[in-house]
């Protein structure tokens, strides 16, 4: 009634901002989401996008092949910078994955209804990001075919991994994270796979989706156990996601290198991970809703909420930067003080200031509601934050390693074509997997959308 007279921006209207546009029924959400997979013809846009992504993936395979042929010497790594791009990219990718788990697990436990239409592809994004992340430590070993040495298996040599090393913790954290994310994603998919099985018209699709759905028939007994398993998984994934980036930060903070050896690393790494992850979810969601007309399901409310999460985690990250800076100066430790000076005035100060610009200054625009509700602005912002988070890891890895205790150990780091090629190549892998995902599996959880329809129709009565 009063909606016409109230400003669109009034808090009352905004509180009611929809997570699902009205007029949808169980059948219409099923039709709309499953048709993307089952009936929609392959578009020129999809083919063009896939072709670009796939050629970048080929660049990745080329770079890895050359790396295996020649060894890690083709990269810019040296002594003292043994880590270089490989670790920068590893931390960047694994951080991106964290938003998927946050959306699917933490927002589920907090009963946030707006998670429903974004959780599926955010979880897919997690899996693909973990896959990209996993490549880097693997190829950085130099002899990736020996990587199984990191797993505790009863070897004839009678040796075992060193469980006191954060790098071994990382192996366990990342492989557990990958496994649990895949399980969580697959459990969520089962009812939707049954929907696709029942709606597919060609034989091959019926057989493939039928096998994947495992005979799911929506029995009340099954749903009952399904829901408790899903809730338990959400409860388990929540501390897991916090632990993964904590362990990643241990890779740095357990070492005594200036700029790494700080207790603020675990929380600030986790916040940074969620920050970059939400940026990546926006980077994917904005073109996805446009290309597949999903504006009814991924509404402005979703985009705005994600922008708010970015703003909040961005502020935590800013707090982290500030205290890193403050503690170094306050400690009076000359190596820490020197490192701060090097960040501000050293050879890589440009990266540091770009990082501050991308991660702290630009996101402050998100305080303005007009920016949060402007799709184009959000898209650009998400790219800027992704870049900023990459720079953050570059600053952490490279500045500290090039400036440690004795000047004789100082050095410089210059990435080569193969470093950039491998990095861009993993973006190709990521995007290729996303393109295949939206065509092969429902990008939005159909069963959960039906639940949302049921809840919203009850509210209207």
């Amino acid at each position: 009634m009063s909606a016409d007279r109230t400003s669109v921006n009034s808090p009352e209207i905004r509180r009611l901002a929809r997570v699902l546009e009205p007029g949808h029924s169980y059948a219409s959400v099923t039709d709309k989401i499953s048709s993307i997979v089952l009936t929609r013809p392959v578009s020129i846009g999809w083919l063009a996008g896939f072709a670009i992504a796939f050629s970048l993936l080929m660049l990745l395979t080329g770079c890895i092949a050359w790396l295996i042929t020649k060894g890690v010497g083709i990269w810019g790594i040296n002594i003292p910078v043994g880590w270089g791009f490989a670790i920068v990219n590893f931390v960047w990718w694994i951080g991106i994955g964290h938003a998927g788990t946050l959306i699917s697990a933490i927002l589920f436990l907090l009963n946030q209804k707006w998670r429903t239409s974004i959780n599926r592809f955010a979880e897919a994004m997690t899996l693909f990001a973990v896959a990209c992340a996993g490549i880097f430590p693997l190829i950085h070993t130099g002899r990736p075919w020996m990587a199984y040495y990191m797993f505790p298996y009863p070897s004839t040599m009678g040796i075992w991994p060193q469980f006191r090393s954060p790098l071994i913790w990382d192996v366990f954290a990342v492989s557990t994270y990958g496994t649990v994310s895949a399980l969580f994603w697959f459990v969520g998919l089962i009812p939707d796979l049954a929907t696709l099985r029942d709606r597919a018209t060609n034989k091959a699709a019926q057989i493939i989706y039928g096998m994947l759905a495992m005979g799911w028939r929506g029995s009340a007994r099954h749903w009952h156990r399904y829901q408790s398993a899903y809730l338990l998984l959400a409860g388990l994934a929540t501390p897991l996601v916090l632990s993964v980036h904590t362990v990643v930060s241990f890779d740095f903070s357990i070492a005594i290198v200036p700029g790494w050896h700080t207790t603020i690393f675990p929380p600030y790494f986790v916040a940074g991970a969620i920050y970059s992850g939400f940026a990546m979810v926006l980077t994917i969601a904005i073109p996805l809703r446009k290309a597949y007309d999903l504006e009814d399901f991924i509404t402005m409310r979703h985009l705005e909420n994600m922008a708010k999460v970015m703003l909040a985690t961005g502020l935590i990250v800013a707090y982290g930067y500030f205290f890193e800076f403050f503690m170094s100066l306050y400690s009076g430790n000359k190596f820490d003080v020197f490192l701060v000076q090097q960040r501000l005035h050293g050879p890589y100060s440009g990266y540091y200031f770009a990082l501050i610009l991308c991660n702290i200054l630009t996101p402050q625009l998100l305080w303005i509601q007009k920016v949060r509700t402007n799709v184009a602005a959000l898209f650009v912002m998400s790219l800027v934050i992704n870049l900023g988070m990459w720079l953050e890891r570059f600053v952490i890895v490279v500045i500290s390693l090039t400036r440690d205790f004795v000047p004789s150990a100082w050095g410089r780091y210059q990435a080569t074509f193969w470093d950039y090629g491998t990095f861009v190549g993993t973006i190709g892998l990521f995007v290729t997997l996303l393109f295949l995902f939206v065509r092969a599996l429902p990008a939005i959880s159909i069963a959960e959308m039906r639940e949302l329809v049921a809840h919203t129709s009850e509210e209207h009565k």
């Binding site: 059948a27 469980f163 954060p166 028939r217 929506g218 009340a220 007994r221 009952h224 408790s228």
Partner: protein, 185 residues
């Protein structure tokens, strides 16, 4: 072994339009004394398991998850202890061989891994999935159980089951459509 039955009746399937109708029918069917029943819905309907009389005690998933978590964590911790203190002892910075705080991250990860795999595979096993064939899949209309319709099945091995009477009863419980489910081998 029994002679395999071909083309036996599995039960009667009533179709409903809304979760509310399904819940009302489930309650009615239970009150009438039927015990071998199950409901099918395209999404989890709140309160449906209570309406069907399935208590919390049927749900072993939390217990399995606990077992998986404890098993994973304990195995993880004592394995690391055995490796680091007994099988392959190494002096790292003069710390004791049982440097247990260093074993916590891996212990934690293995706890979560054990609990999660038990939760998922336990849920599937208790649901007897994968199950490629089920008599309900013979019913063409049942395809909508994964879309927008709600079903209630009274199974033929229910002591009160009678083909005509039960069908009439389902109709009286507001079923839009009642189908006989046959298990054709």
């Amino acid at each position: 072994m029994n002679v395999p039955h071909t083309n036996v009746c599995y039960g009667l399937l009533g179709e409903f339009d809304t979760p509310k109708d399904l819940m009302a029918a489930a309650r009615k069917v239970r009150e009438a004394g039927y015990s071998h029943i199950d409901a099918y819905a395209p999404f989890p309907v709140e309160g449906l398991s209570d309406a069907l009389g399935l208590g919390r005690k049927h749900d072993l998933v939390p217990l399995l998850t606990l077992i998986g978590g404890l098993g994973g964590g304990l195995t993880g911790f004592f394995f690391q202890l055995w490796v680091s203190a007994s099988s392959y002892p190494m002096n790292i910075g003069g710390r004791p061989l049982n440097s247990w705080p260093a074993f916590i991250p891996v212990t934690f990860e293995l706890t979560v891994l054990g609990a999660s795999t038990f939760a998922v595979f336990g849920m599937l096993a208790l649901n007897k999935l994968p199950q490629p064939h089920h008599p309900l899949f013979n019913v063409q209309r049942f395809k909508r159980a994964s879309n927008d319709k709600f079903f209630l099945c009274i199974e033929a091995h229910d002591p009160k089951f009678h083909l005509e009477e039960t069908a009439r009863f389902l109709q009286s419980a507001n079923a839009q459509h009642v189908t006989e489910v046959r298990d054709e081998d």
